[in-house]
């Protein structure tokens, strides 16, 4: 029992560390990538000076995230005069916490057998094995959607309790937009559930290490290309980023539902947004990009379509899976940032029309076609 606790704590520490790291690093990635996309250099003035020397560490502006955090900590925590005190105070946490919780069901690695890692551990752990995932829940995808839906409540609370018309407008927009796109996200994922026959994210990731048509890795993006595009679009809309950033459109609503927030409370909203980029990337990786595995890779090693098998040691597999998962997440995050700096913002009526008259029928069609194909194949 003690062993389970230790392993769980290690996993939780790893997950929280990874999420917070992504939250801060993605602010830097966003700045630098935007700069590179527009032929600029990007933020590079914040530095850390080694004490008693004149050596300044700039590190391509990596410390700007640190400077931002420090600024938000030290700023005055302004409170508007008229507001619902309780709702105003908990709203940032209601937005922030579910975002972190979603990661608990996402597998970030395959099966971990501690005894195989080091001989010293074998006497204590015996032949126990742990899937690298914080919460082994059968209803993995359902948990993701349940927690994802909670962030709407946070946005609505923030907008309503601020006693500000901009906030209220932003909250209304956030509510209708997120509910619309959550529906589409659910519909697109239904197709995948039909194919894999499970909502357990570990099983979904494992099934994707197979082979499709003899040469393709059986990734979700090859099985459900339409669903992948629709899912990513809906997920970006869910995260309220450009081109779907109507709830917080600066030119229209100042900052939308968090207009009245300052200092670290506002920082929490921003941080939640950046962590959600990583979460969406992790979810997309798990559902469509083969999860933590390289193509044709399983927990035992590689087995290529030609029948060629490359067995790997357990330590190599575990490290490779951890790294591959992080790299995939980083690439998908970078792609989301690319979208954010490429497309202009929708108008409000266009946004909802896009959801209900373009994406909703497409998602439904995709689901129906998938259902018919699965029915004919499986009999």
């Amino acid at each position: 029992m003690m062993q389970d606790l230790v392993v769980s704590l290690v996993f939780i520490g790893y997950a929280v560390g990874v999420l917070l790291l992504f939250g801060t690093v993605l602010t830097w990635v966003e700045r630098k990538q935007a700069a590179l996309m527009s032929d600029r250099i990007g933020a590079n003035r914040a530095y850390v000076r080694i004490p008693f020397t004149h050596i300044k560490l700039v590190w391509w502006g990596l410390f700007h995230g640190l400077a931002d955090g420090l600024k938000m900590m030290l700023k005055e925590d302004f409170r508007p005069n008229a507001y619902d005190r309780f709702a105003y105070a908990i709203a940032p946490w209601v937005v922030f916490t579910p975002v972190l919780l979603v990661f608990s069901v996402i597998p970030f690695g395959g099966l971990l057998v501690p005894a195989k890692l080091a001989p010293a551990l074998s006497s204590w752990f015996g032949d126990r094995s742990y899937p690298m995932q914080i919460a082994r829940v059968d209803a993995g995808l359902l948990v993701v959607f349940a927690f994802g839906g909670l962030t709407i409540v946070g946005a609505m609370l923030a907008g309503w309790s601020s006693s500000n018309k901009f906030s209220l407008l932003g909250a209304l927009r956030a509510g209708s937009q997120m509910i619309s796109y959550e529906l589409i996200m659910g519909l697109t994922v239904l197709g995948l559930i039909l194919i894999y026959g499970t909502v357990d994210l570990t099983h979904i990731a494992q099934q994707q290490s197979g082979v499709l048509l003899g040469f393709l890795p059986a990734w979700g993006i090859f099985l459900q290309p339409f669903a992948a595009i629709l899912f990513l679009t809906a997920a970006i809309a869910e995260n309220k980023r450009i081109p779907f950033d109507l709830p917080e459109a600066e030119s229209e609503l100042i900052a939308g539902y968090y207009t009245e927030y300052s200092a670290m409370k506002m920082g929490l909203f921003m941080f939640a947004e950046f962590i959600e980029i990583a979460i969406i990337a992790a979810l997309f990786t798990t559902l469509f990009l083969g999860g933590y595995n390289l193509p044709f890779m399983t927990d035992e090693g590689f087995s290529f379509p030609g029948g060629h098998v490359v067995p790997l040691s357990h330590t190599t597999v575990v490290l490779l899976q951890l790294v591959v998962f992080l790299v995939k997440v980083l690439i998908m995050s970078s792609f989301q940032i690319l979208v954010r700096w490429t497309l202009p913002r929708f108008r409000w009526d266009q946004l909802l029309r896009f959801a209900w008259r373009f994406m909703f029928p497409l998602a439904l069609t995709n689901l129906v076609v998938t259902a018919v194909v699965v029915w004919t194949v499986q009999g």
Partner: protein, 200 residues
Amino acid sequence: MDGAGIEIVKSGPYRRKQYWNRPTMSWWEKAYLPEVVRGLVITGGVFLKNMARWITLRKGALTTYYPEETRADYARRNRGKHVLTQRPDGRPQCIACNMCATVCPAKVIEIEAAFDPDDPVHPKYPARFEIDYSRCIFCGLCVEACPEDAIRMVKEVPDLPAHDRHHMWLSLDELLTWQPQRDVAKPYPAKGAASRGGQR
């Protein structure tokens, strides 16, 4: 009633104004997704190109680090900053006549004249010659007013980013850094050959 300036507005259903320059889109553009992909390819291409340049230790940006880096593309006639020309022995050619300070519209030039008994031809010389670049408007009138061709402007900009205006002055030392190898106005000695009183 009978046309007494009263215009009767007929109310009807609202009709959206049709603009003459209403954009027209083909069905390909209306499908939205292909155009989105095209845009992503363009921006992603720029990103990857610049990224490749940075990784291979070249510069992947059109902008410059200011103030560490100066732009290479200043025009030849750009009025960037002032220089004081020198006599062959290295002293300033300025005779402290105050013409430039008088003509200066922003009143940024301050000259303190002094007497040099060793040089009977040019007994007056500037002991201090300072320009306040926080106020200079770079009009070049000082250059035109100078009777001795003692002040000129070069294309490089002064390297003066500072946290307050008191650090934006250039004094005689910084203004005398111009060491041209070839000047049509008068011959200059080679570097190091000039010493005070050498050609007296």
